[in-house]
Symmetry: C2
Subunit: 181 residues, 2 copies
């Protein structure tokens, strides 16, 4: 199965702190291998994500501060493709864009930006595909979640995370956890 | 098709402002009919959501300030069922919980809370189903998105929004919109 890494662009410390944390935790929980917070550093988010990984297991990389152009260049240099999530792109439901992405069989760098994303993200130099999770304005966190769920065909929600200190035992009612360490 | 309304619990003004806005816009864009921000008021979010509805169309209700117990009681009084999204619940991928929810054929109130959600949310008095979008901690926004996408079988992303002043014409590259007013 190809690997997915998320590139988070346009993070503003404080204002976006919770949202970017949610984007990172969504990436991890829904099967991505890591997140690159480009062009800025935010130690609070890095710590939160690393604590979750330590406690809940699995491997998930968190990089920050790298310029987005460098991240894209390095990714393409390793033979990966780039998917830009944007409300303006091809609709994941009404077009065959997901099929075409999967047919590449390559690792995917998923760019999640914001309304103010640079025009360059749409260009061939950057994105191989511009994908819309519906053509309405909503949320990069929601878009990422639906993209990952559809890309991995739901299997990501069943996977177990190695070396977890704690895991949830699903219940109809109440909270149940097991400690494995 | 049954209707879905989202109940947002535990919103803290300022700290959660962007996140709750994203939850509301996700609800709208992915097919829910409205959102109830319980136990608190936040005029900034209400204004943002109403502006999006005015510009991008469709009908979407936004209520705030109602106590969550009242909202649940009123919903059940109208014959609807309640689904609580929580990492501790039945896994949407590995269990048949979604099938059982759909089999009810009833309108659904989806509760999205946070780690600090009251224990009562798990009880029979409140939730008919406790559903986990994977049993890992992540995001109420991501959980809501995947739940709506799976509940509506993807069709929500293809729907058109009535009386829109602006709509996106999906493109492989670049941004294209049409103004219909």
């Amino acid at each position: 199965m190809p690997e997915i890494v998320v590139l988070r662009w346009g993070h503003r410390p404080q204002r976006d702190s919770r949202l970017t944390t949610h984007v990172a935790l969504t990436a991890r929980a829904l099967g991505a291998s890591g997140l690159i917070l480009t062009d800025i550093e935010d130690r609070g988010i890095k710590e939160t994500v690393e604590k979750v990984v330590e406690r809940w297991g699995g491997s998930f990389s968190f990089e920050m501060g790298k310029p987005w152009k460098t991240a894209v260049k390095e990714w393409k240099g390793k033979g990966g493709i780039v998917v830009h999530l944007t409300a303006y792109g091809e609709n994941i439901e009404t077009s065959d864009v997901l099929q075409r992405i999967k047919a590449c069989g390559k690792d995917v760098l998923v760019i999640v930006g914001s309304q103010k994303a640079p025009r360059e993200f749409f260009s061939e130099a950057v994105s191989d595909f511009n994908v819309a999770i519906g053509n309405q304005p909503h949320s990069e966190c929601a878009s990422l979640a639906v993209f990952l769920d559809r890309f991995f065909g739901g299997r990501e929600l069943a996977k177990s995370f190695e070396k977890a200190k704690i895991r949830i035992i699903p219940q109809k009612r109440g909270k149940k956890t097991a400690r494995d360490c």
